[in-house]
Point group: C2
Chain length 335, copies 2
């Protein structure tokens, strides 16, 4: 049994920098045709010079006919129209982080007040630059995303022409917002389709499944599954694959993030097959993203076969999701 995916895209990807970049970028390039590259480096990517240099460092680690890194700027509310007009040629989107909400987000926006964002959001609307958002408040960990719902609703209402992508959604409530506002879209990760808080802290504590936003309740996972498996037209796959060295995960005070890029397609295929939804996988992992981003990807045919695949214990010094476990599908060829 085989399935061929055309130009799979990972619409939310952390490639990091330096040695980590050299390990993880080739792993994404192996099976994905491209993806949205997150800008939360230290310091964050806020200038075109930094962005072009980062893109070059990415391309230096891979064959550039093989993977197209769609770059993003780290949102600042002082980006001018002229700057954004020039930037548009080089970026896929701009990513907004509320300050201090996740890894390397210290320089994010400290106020989500509409007035302070208006000028930049209006410029982005006119220039058709999508806004990607890490939507969490500083509230109680299980409520952070739901509490941010008001912000999404306010953004969507005030800027109806701005394409707003709710990144890595984890709740039933976020799924419901997709129906409510034409200009709200979403990415969903692999791990949030597989796990709930039970997998992080229900048995033994599992640091490798600890991420932000944290995995939520069973009914939330069900809502995400329903949206993904039906290839809801406003939903795209975005792994949020976020590598940290194993020693920073298995320690007292571990970092947030699940590393899924190299096993994402195998695990997604397994999941979609289990739910008799293989027909919708192409839309979830590529077609929806192409339409939403108005983007034509590199051509790449990834064929998966139903032969069990033993996930490595580590990739270099990074522990992936499903480490040392068997998945039911493996990558047969990439053309």
């Amino acid at each position: 049994m085989i399935i061929t995916l055309n130009s799979p895209l990972d619409m939310h990807l952390h490639l990091r920098d330096d040695e980590m970049l050299k390990v993880v970028a080739p792993l994404s390039a192996k099976t994905f045709a491209g993806g949205i590259i997150m800008p939360n480096l230290v310091p964050p990517v806020t200038t075109l010079k930094a962005l072009k240099e980062y893109k070059q460092r990415i391309l230096d680690t891979i064959d550039d006919e093989n993977f197209d890194p769609l770059m993003t700027l780290f949102f600042k509310n002082d980006y001018s129209y002229e700057f954004l007009k020039e930037a548009k040629e080089y970026i896929g989107a701009i990513k907004l982080y509320p300050s201090g909400i996740t890894t390397n987000s210290q320089g994010g926006v400290s106020s989500l007040d509409i007035a302070s964002l208006k000028e930049t959001f209006e410029a982005m609307s006119e220039l058709e630059i999508p806004l990607c958002v890490h939507g969490e408040t500083n509230g109680f960990v299980m409520d952070r995303e739901a509490e941010f719902g008001d912000v999404y609703e306010s953004f969507a209402t005030h800027f109806p022409k701005l394409k707003i992508i709710m990144e890595h959604i984890t709740t039933k409530h976020s799924v419901s917002l997709l129906e409510k506002y034409d200009n709200l879209y979403a990415t969903i990760t692999l791990h949030h389709l597989y796990i709930t808080l039970d997998d992080v802290a229900g048995g033994m504590l599992n640091p490798h499944l600890f991420c932000k936003p944290i995995a939520k309740r069973p009914e939330d996972k069900e809502a995400l599954l329903k949206a993904a498996l039906s290839a809801h037209p406003k939903v795209m796959f975005g792994s949020d694959s976020a590598p940290h060295p194993t020693h920073k995960k298995e320690c007292c005070g571990c970092a947030a993030g699940v590393f899924t890029a190299p096993i994402a397609l195998q695990a997604l295929t397994q999941l979609f097959e289990e739910h008799n939804a293989l027909d919708n996988l192409q839309a979830f992992v590529s077609d929806n993203a192409q339409r939403i981003y108005n983007y034509k990807p590199l051509e790449k045919k990834v064929t998966l076969e139903k032969i069990s695949y033993l996930v490595p214990q580590t990739y270099s010094n990074i522990t992936p999701m499903f480490a040392s476990e068997e998945l039911k599908w493996s990558v047969k060829s990439v053309l």
Copy 2:
């Protein structure tokens, strides 16, 4: 500023066995006059022979005029009336674990069906042996205790003369059950008065605060605080101090339990002082337990002084709560 506590009691304590016992028993004996000793050894304590031998091993590590270990049996529904009548002389209570719910609970009851428990519960009612319960289902981690509420209500209704102690309660709902049934009581830990899930998984993941039941929501903590700080007459302090070697906490798949015994009185005094409730501390840490258990403890006067106390990084190979942090109160003398 000083405060003297008479015969502080820890009504839910894990002393473990072997080398661990030798480390932790003297630490509890230092500041507590006694406590309820949990029976979840490997294998669990289910015979009087095992119970007496375990008690002797505890006493061998401490000065027996200094600390009275109130022993418990691990609940089995085949304990006969005659056995329980003999056991009563040696035990403070019997502890019921649903099977597989926490550390070393594999041999716990697999059915909570009233019919299967009736004979033992009726014998315990007649013999006035309290029943301590780890009240969690196998459900979603944040719902387990609330889901168990029905079991508590059923037990309380069917066995009105059985004294039922809801151990280490963590939810607003459990607090509300205290008002609803005369024969329901509760212990509350130190850590559940200090933390919510945010402290475990809201920032970085903190394995040293990972415990079962897991810390819940802010409104749950508020309800627990209200009950403890007011020294609700049906509520007792029980640390659930549960030591694990540091390497079993700071690892992939860490064990559940917070080690608080040696710093419990200092931290409780700090908490009660912060909330202007020092007058209620004696009832919470001793008087309520004496009345509920109909128990006269060893005489012991523990005086604490408002002088800052630096909590050690470790006790032997065990990391305590507040490791390397300063508490505002220290133990001045024990007489």
